[in-house]
């Protein structure tokens, strides 16, 4: 039963991915179809989870919203790894002043809470999905740089790396051949957890009107719109709230499970 978390995480994440994938080909209703006559339908019936204040189908909105969440998460993680991993590897390889400088730079990024720096960036550049991605991505660069550096430093102290160096391999070759493969596990785990954080951050920004712009559906925007109708139709707020919670829970369980699987030494004592 040790893998129960991992399995549940896989199921939830798989469901999320499936929803998003299917939405490319099929949604129960056209997602941007406004049908005022059909608004505030309760869950059940033709609209499985009901309709919102514009008569749009909640299931369709959730599906396309999942696609948008995943797209934002993927780009954010990509951006974070693209910059963060080389920075972390370089810091671990060079050590000394380079490590010092790169580490202080990531500290600087960390000094601003992710959501606050996201506000700052969207306030300066204007709301929109590109700027939201940029904002969350910058924070993730720091996260990945720090995680990579820590893991790589540990690898650099191992005997086989010492041996490779003694045999005359240069630091770049050692990093690519020996260090990188050994930090991939940690990075996978971090990517899963960062993915969850990115979905949450995107939902927060969209909730505040700074992320994905209407009429494109977004879980955060659904939650925002539902706020006004909370007393009339609580399900409008509960459903996207649940979707966000389950997606984040799934990714976190997956991350934890993967960590246990890939790096037994990091396993928490039970």
């Amino acid at each position: 039963m040790r893998n129960a978390g991992l399995i549940l995480g896989l199921c939830l994440t798989g469901l999320l991915a499936a929803m998003a994938l299917v939405s490319f080909f099929w949604t129960p209703f056209p997602v941007d179809e406004v049908r005022i006559a059909a608004r505030f339908r309760p869950p059940g019936g033709a609209n499985w989870l009901g309709t919102d204040h514009f008569g749009r189908d909640i299931v369709s909105l959730l599906m396309v919203g999942a696609r948008n969440s995943i797209a934002v998460g993927a780009v954010v993680i990509g951006l974070g790894m693209l910059v963060g991993v080389p920075v972390g590897l370089a810091a671990a390889a060079r050590g000394g002043w380079a490590d010092e400088w790169l580490s202080r730079a990531t500290d600087l990024v960390f000094a601003f809470p992710a959501i606050l720096s996201a506000f700052l960036i969207t306030a300066l550049l204007g709301p929109g999905v590109v700027n939201a991605i940029l904002a969350i991505g910058i924070f993730n660069m720091g996260v990945f740089a720090r995680v990579t550096r820590g893991a790589a430093q540990a690898v650099w102290r191992r005997e086989f790396v010492r041996a490779a160096l003694a045999l005359g391999r240069g630091p770049v070759a050692v990093t690519l051949v020996h260090v990188l493969p050994n930090v991939l596990g940690v990075l996978t785990v971090q990517a899963t957890i960062s993915f969850a954080a990115a979905i949450l951050a995107e939902a927060s920004l969209s909730y505040l009107g700074l992320g994905i712009q209407p009429p494109a559906p977004s879980w955060g925007k659904m939650l925002h719109d539902a706020q006004t109708f909370m007393l009339l139709r609580p399900s409008l707020a509960i459903i996207p709230g649940l979707a966000i919670a389950l997606a984040v829970l799934g990714l976190n369980l997956l991350g934890d499970g993967l960590r246990d699987l890939l790096d037994p030494r990091l396993r928490r004592s039970r």
Partner: protein, 495 residues
């Protein structure tokens, strides 16, 4: 609706007569507003929020518009009009003082009007003052204004927020710290949060105002508006935005709901300077693409009367033109194809914060998408909207409610953000300005409306309702909004 309002009025009267002197009544009032004003000088800005704080409360004009839209004496206790209709003699109230202690007399009137019509005037309604040929002040209590031509709207215009009397000593500072003659003085402005007015103890009529302090709080978000009312943070929200929760307040005996109308024609504005919106076929296509019923139901929860031109349905001279461009997707597509946009169009829609614009904008975007017009929605704050859209003319489409009374003439204004030019319409406006006789004015208003509709000068949506929510004990607020105002000079608590 009328029945309901009579009931509400009856209830208010009953409550009034029952209220005994035994209970200590509250002497302060907190009013909620969706928008914060950019500044507080009504003679130097178009934002309705300025008037919604200062009109009658802080500033007064020669005449005033009351809650029923009637012209009543203001700082002028009476006036005479010459036989030819071109000379107005205003007899001013005596003993009136500005809040800074300086006296009010005919020189102030001359100063205020000369400032409003001067070359460097920033008055939003400069046109109100252009008919003025001369202003004479034979004595401190008399002002004689001679017009170059007859102006049927003159007395009404002089009662607008744009024509309030400011003093030479304080006019320069009115944007931040307004100094007027009204029963309330400006006290404090906490930007982003509230503006406070306090009782003017030296007001000429000792029984006015009935309150010691009035606070205006700014809450743009409709859900937050509802929570602020239910949480007791706000006593009244005269222009309530969360229509969907009106039934909740109607069912709650602690609150009273007033359903009235504003002078606000809510329109989908086109930037006539820009292609392809300078093309009549494209504008007609958009008009056919719009489904007003759906917009009113979806964005306003059914509150709002559809309009087919730029004229309020409750005013004399209204023509129902809502049937000219029936909702017709095929027709809209055909018109777009005829204009060379068969493969579709991309336009931006800049939306100010009010819910009618934000929610209405989402529905408009969905409706336009059905005829092949892809709309990019750009939500913006009010200051940004004024700068980019209203002054900068940088937009394709926008949704806004024009709340000035009888303001069909804005389509003839140049420069103006709409960028609409039509010599035929200009001629009707010129004739209207010189016509005093009511039948003649009515006919001209009708012609003006037909021209705008024929030209699809804007996407005409609906008349903005005035849904006011107040705590059951609050009385003396306006039910309708004939001019943008929250006149609290007569407001009081019945319990």
């Amino acid at each position: 609706m009328r029945k309901i309002s009579l009931l509400v009025a009856g209830a208010a009267v009953a409550a009034l007569s029952l209220a005994g002197p035994a209970q200590a009544q509250r002497r302060d009032l907190v009013i909620g507003m969706a928008l914060e004003p950019p500044h507080l000088d009504p003679t130097a800005g178009a934002a309705a929020a300025i008037d919604e704080i200062t009109y009658q409360n802080v500033f007064e004009g020669l005449t005033r518009i009351d809650g029923e839209g009637q012209i009543v004496p203001g700082l002028a206790e009476r006036w005479d009009v010459s036989e030819d209709g071109r000379t107005y003699t205003f007899h001013l109230r005596k003993g009136v003082k500005f809040h800074d202690g300086t006296g009010f007399d005919s020189a102030d009137v001359k100063f205020a009007f000369d400032r409003a019509r001067g070359a460097d005037s920033v008055n939003a309604q400069k046109g109100y003052f252009t008919p003025i040929e001369s202003i004479e002040t034979p004595d401190p209590a008399t002002v004689v204004i001679r017009l170059s031509k007859v102006d049927g709207q003159f007395l009404s215009n002089m009662g607008s927020g744009d024509a309030v009397i400011v003093a030479p000593e304080s006019a320069g500072g009115n944007r931040q710290a307004p100094v007027g003659t009204g029963p309330f003085r400006f006290s404090r402005w906490t930007p982003g949060d509230r503006i406070e007015l306090v009782r003017n103890p030296e007001f000429r009529d000792a029984s006015t105002p009935k309150l010691d302090k009035v606070t205006f709080r700014f809450i743009a978000d409709p859900a937050a508006q509802m929570n602020a009312l239910r949480g007791g943070d706000i006593d009244a929200f005269p222009l309530f935005g969360a229509y969907e929760s009106v039934p909740l307040f109607q069912a709650d005996s602690q609150f009273a709901v007033d359903e009235g109308s504003t002078e606000g024609e809510t329109i989908l504005s086109f930037n006539h300077r820009r292609k392809p919106l300078d093309d009549l076929r494209v504008r007609r296509a958009i008009s056919h693409a719009l489904d007003r019923r759906e917009i009113i139901e979806g964005a306003q929860f059914g509150y709002g009367v559809p309009i087919g031109s730029f004229f309020p349905p409750h005013r004399e001279g209204y023509v129902d033109l809502t049937g000219v461009y029936p909702h017709d997707v095929a027709k809209a597509k055909a018109l777009l194809a005829e204009a060379g946009h068969a493969s579709g169009l991309r336009l931006t829609l800049k939306l100010p914060p009010p819910p009618y614009a934000r929610r209405g904008g989402e529905i408009v975007a969905a409706q336009l998408a059905k005829v092949g017009i892809q709309v990019e929605i750009i939500p913006m704050e009010w200051a940004q909207w004024l700068e980019q859209v209203f002054r900068g003319n940088d937009f394709d489409l926008t949704i806004v409610s024009h709340v000035e009374p009888l303001d069909i003439g804005i389509f003839d204004r140049d420069p103006y953000y709409l960028g609409y030019r039509n010599p035929q319409f200009a001629a009707v406006m010129a004739e209207l300005n010189g016509t005093v006789d009511p039948a003649g004015r009515k006919a001209l208003y009708e012609r003006a409306q037909r021209i705008l509709t024929e030209d699809a000068a804007a996407g005409f949506l609906f008349q903005l309702p005035k849904i006011g929510i107040r705590k059951a004990g609050v009385a003396g607020l306006w039910k309708n909004a004939p001019v943008p105002a929250n006149d609290v000079t007569a407001a009081f608590w019945t319990r």
